[in-house]
Symmetry: C2
Subunit: 297 residues, 2 copies
Amino acid sequence: MKEKEFIDIIKSTINPELIGDDCAYLEDLGIVISQDSLVEDIHFKFAYTDAYKLGYKAAMVNISDICASGAEPEYMTVALSLPPDKDGEFIQKFYEGVKAAAPDIKIAGGDITGSCEKVYISIAIIGKTAGRTISSRSHAAPGQLVIVSGEHGNSAEGLKRLLNGENCPEKFLNAHLMPRAEREFSRQIAENITAPYAMMDTSDGLMDALSQIAYSSGVKLSVNYNKIPHDAFVDKANVLYGGEDYKLVATIPESLLFKLDKAFVIGKVEKGLGVELDGKVLTKDDIESKIFNHFKG
Amino acid sequence: MKEKEFIDIIKSTINPELIGDDCAYLEDLGIVISQDSLVEDIHFKFAYTDAYKLGYKAAMVNISDICASGAEPEYMTVALSLPPDKDGEFIQKFYEGVKAAAPDIKIAGGDITGSCEKVYISIAIIGKTAGRTISSRSHAAPGQLVIVSGEHGNSAEGLKRLLNGENCPEKFLNAHLMPRAEREFSRQIAENITAPYAMMDTSDGLMDALSQIAYSSGVKLSVNYNKIPHDAFVDKANVLYGGEDYKLVATIPESLLFKLDKAFVIGKVEKGLGVELDGKVLTKDDIESKIFNHFKG
């Protein structure tokens, strides 16, 4: 069973209205909140990473969710569950990594517990919404441009090379092990846009994000492969479907472009439904069968 | 190494000012936040519990942290990491348990991922502080009474009987598997008190809570064993040191007592330092060597 089916079960069991975006928008409190976990041997292996990089990535993954909403990341709580062989030094390096990823974000407690074998990390993060327009993946509208914040596929390329024991240039290695959330791109959009807009991070890949936005908004996102920024060494499959780049995809009015330091226009929002790549409409199944999915294995 | 030493390492690595209470008080946002995890075979075993009870307890453990602060629990995010043998039915029952524990608390997303073998649960919870005076374990002051909200030791008694395969009356079983957070006790104090006060839950046992309050506040808590509400079948060691009862301990002025429906006065706050039980001062080491500690094993 896939994560999306699990989420449907959750939505039918509890209040569904706050479930669906990278963050939940708690308007009465003026905040967004999100929580993401990393599990040893599912999301990372100590053969390729260490406590410092792990703390850095765990923080960034959560910061990226706040960036996807357009809010300003403000506070985190950090829960660590550690097997007996992980000691105080591990904890210190981990928190140094967290701190390096987010020197201005305050850590507001959390939990530290034992675990039998594996390291388990779960971080909750709060962002402030004051002065920002908050996105929703259901807010794309025909006439908007589809933009992204940077290169896609580098993280998947790094992971592939690590797993195959191939030479792995720093660029791909860092994209996978120490990704950077797009805080400035997010801020420039959220502070300058007034109309509803969609924004997501590409934690599960670019095509997944495009598909989620298209079906949530009831629109067609028409994109051109050649417009998607990517490294020449990265396969097309990884550019489109590789996960964990933590870039942002947004749908914005053309008039906003000049406010953004860095934005790559990859297509436009049209009437219709789904994702059209280079003139060919992809079905939901086409995309979902290929997306980056930790439940696959 | 013990959890408290780990926390000292964390405090020295990051901003320490929001670490120390059951919840962090984010005054600028008018909220408190907390996060607690439950790990299979560390905090629970499926031999004794099931998905529904687990969801119920995981929610209650977190609600109890908010109650300890005096705030009103409002939103939760829920992260579940599940091994391949746990399916949609497990998720549904788990969320039904969460919902039963907290019908009025909204679930604001979270995460669902795979894990290799064990179930990991981590919940973050937000409470609203409007109209409430927020506690701190460093706010006990000489002259206050030490009160508790109910019986101690029932959860440890239940766990002992489960582990020994003994007959386990419903009362002890429920105390351990489906504890109830003390929302009403917390509300009555936090809405009626204006002076600084200390409050903690007894997740790690009554004596641990008393010791934390005493050393954080720089006061002596003098208590009488016979005043501590407990079931006649429960050992003294479990009444004092047994964890996971999720009762509240607070230090309040005597004048507040008549505002509380239910409160057991077990002692008073005096000048000095530490915990005095029936006239005998216990050292920090006395207490810490006996407290309920998942890292012991």
